[in-house]
């Protein structure tokens, strides 16, 4: 089995697809490609064969920095005890309309 092909060294790219006009680009998956143009074309072939997208972004995976799942608890902790950020925290009279 060929283990030393040059494609082994192709960088990994993360693929983001805008499914419909007006929506954000959403992460779809990743692929290997030699350069950005190849990554875009391959992303088209891999992820949008059934018209799943109208726009694609690719970014080399090494440029993505992620928060650590192991530290998610303390990382997101600041938002845990702030119920006053939600509208339901403020009871108002029934007769009040359009608020």
């Amino acid at each position: 089995m060929e283990t030393n092909s040059s494609s082994e060294n192709w960088p990994l790219w993360e693929v983001f697809i805008r499914m419909r006009q007006g929506l954000d680009h959403k992460h779809a998956g990743s692929l290997h490609a030699a350069d950005a143009q190849m990554a875009l074309e391959n992303a088209r072939d891999v992820y949008t064969r059934r018209n799943e997208g109208i726009s694609i972004w690719v970014v080399e995976s090494k440029y993505i920095h992620a928060s650590s799942p192991a530290e998610a608890g303390e990382f997101f902790d600041p938002a845990n005890d702030k119920v006053y950020r939600y509208p339901t925290f403020y009871p108002l009279p029934e007769e009040l309309k359009n608020i």
């Binding site: 007006g22 509208p87 108002l92 009279p93 009040l96 309309k97 359009n98």
Partner: protein, 311 residues
């Protein structure tokens, strides 16, 4: 082959969002940069009048809420600045335009917050008017603006409620508290009504913005909607709106209202409101005082990048 203009106008016509990489007329780009950066500046300057009461909020609950609200305004400013940057202007340029006075922000934030009741009145009236303006912007023709507005509107839903709750509490309190409540409504009512901007016929930007489906409703239509809603809501407070011409009109199906003092509006827009100088001075000071933090962060990042290059 259709021209770029035809493709663009066709998208607007068919309600297809315009995205940053699409061709767009230079005037559309300029109008968006103007409207979106002004919107961002308003969120940022809007933190100042409310921030004024954080240390003096009457309870821990009110304080936590007010901090959360001011934090939201900061976040909303950032969403809007980054959406504006997709149009090819840098963050630095937009901030400079605010600090130099070249760019405006909503004139409402040039009024002072004199009592705790003002925090309630801002939530009810100022955020109420802002929401009336912002909900239709969720359908703006420029994608990044529309998407930022969806986020903002969702987060703002508590802002107006907390404000009304403050006023409701005061309205059920002592005689002095009731007076404070009415006084705040009296001072904020007209500036809030002016937030919708000048009448449509004297607002050229507004007309262009509607033509390109950035804005969906005219200033006067939104203003009327706001007045109709508030004229009913004020009854729940047992307070009154400071307009003796305000009355229900059976024929139009709307509330009639008194004349707006546009001289006051233009005076504040042109820099002569009660707090214009104070607001810009506060932003400049924050920007200058924060310079060393930005420099230190850049130096730290440069040092780390250098060491990670070696790996």
């Amino acid at each position: 082959m259709p021209s770029n203009e035809q493709i663009f106008e066709d998208k607007i016509e068919k309600e297809i969002r315009i995205e940053p990489k699409d061709w767009m007329p230079e005037d559309y780009r300029k109008l968006l940069i103007r409207q979106m950066s002004q919107h961002a500046h308003s969120e940022i300057v809007g933190m100042l009048p409310e921030g004024n009461w954080i240390t003096r909020a009457p309870s821990l609950r009110r304080k936590a809420t007010l901090i959360a609200k001011v934090q939201d305004e900061a976040g909303h400013g950032l969403y809007l600045y980054s959406a504006t940057e997709t149009l090819g202007i840098t963050r630095g340029e937009t901030v400079d335009q605010l600090l130099s006075g070249k760019a405006k922000y909503s004139s409402i934030f040039n009024y002072p917050t004199l009592s705790w009741a003002d925090i309630g009145a801002i939530g009810w009236l100022v955020d109420g008017a802002a929401i009336m303006n912002q909900v239709p912007l969720c359908r703006a023709s420029f994608g990044p603006y529309a998407r930022a507005m969806v986020r903002i509107c969702k987060e703002e839903s508590f802002h107006q409620r907390q404000g009304f709750e403050i006023l409701l509490t005061l309205s059920r309190g002592s005689e002095a508290q009731k007076q404070m409540c009415q006084d705040a409504i009296n001072r904020w009512w007209w500036p809030a009504v002016m937030m919708f901007g000048p009448p449509d016929e004297s607002s050229p930007h507004s007309q262009k913005s509607m033509q390109w489906k950035i804005k969906r409703f005219g200033n006067d239509e939104l203003r009327q909607k706001f007045i109709d809603v508030c004229a009913e809501q004020v009854n729940v407070l047992g307070m009154s709106i400071p307009d003796d011409k305000l009355r229900w009109n059976e024929k139009t199906g709307h509330f009639d209202f008194g004349e707006i003092d546009w001289d006051e509006f233009w005076n504040v827009v042109n820099g002569n409101g009660p707090c214009n100088k104070e607001r810009i001075a506060a932003r400049k000071k924050a920007h200058e005082d924060g310079a060393w933090v930005r420099e230190a962060a850049s130096a730290y990042a440069a040092k780390n990048n250098h060491s990670s290059d070696i790996r």
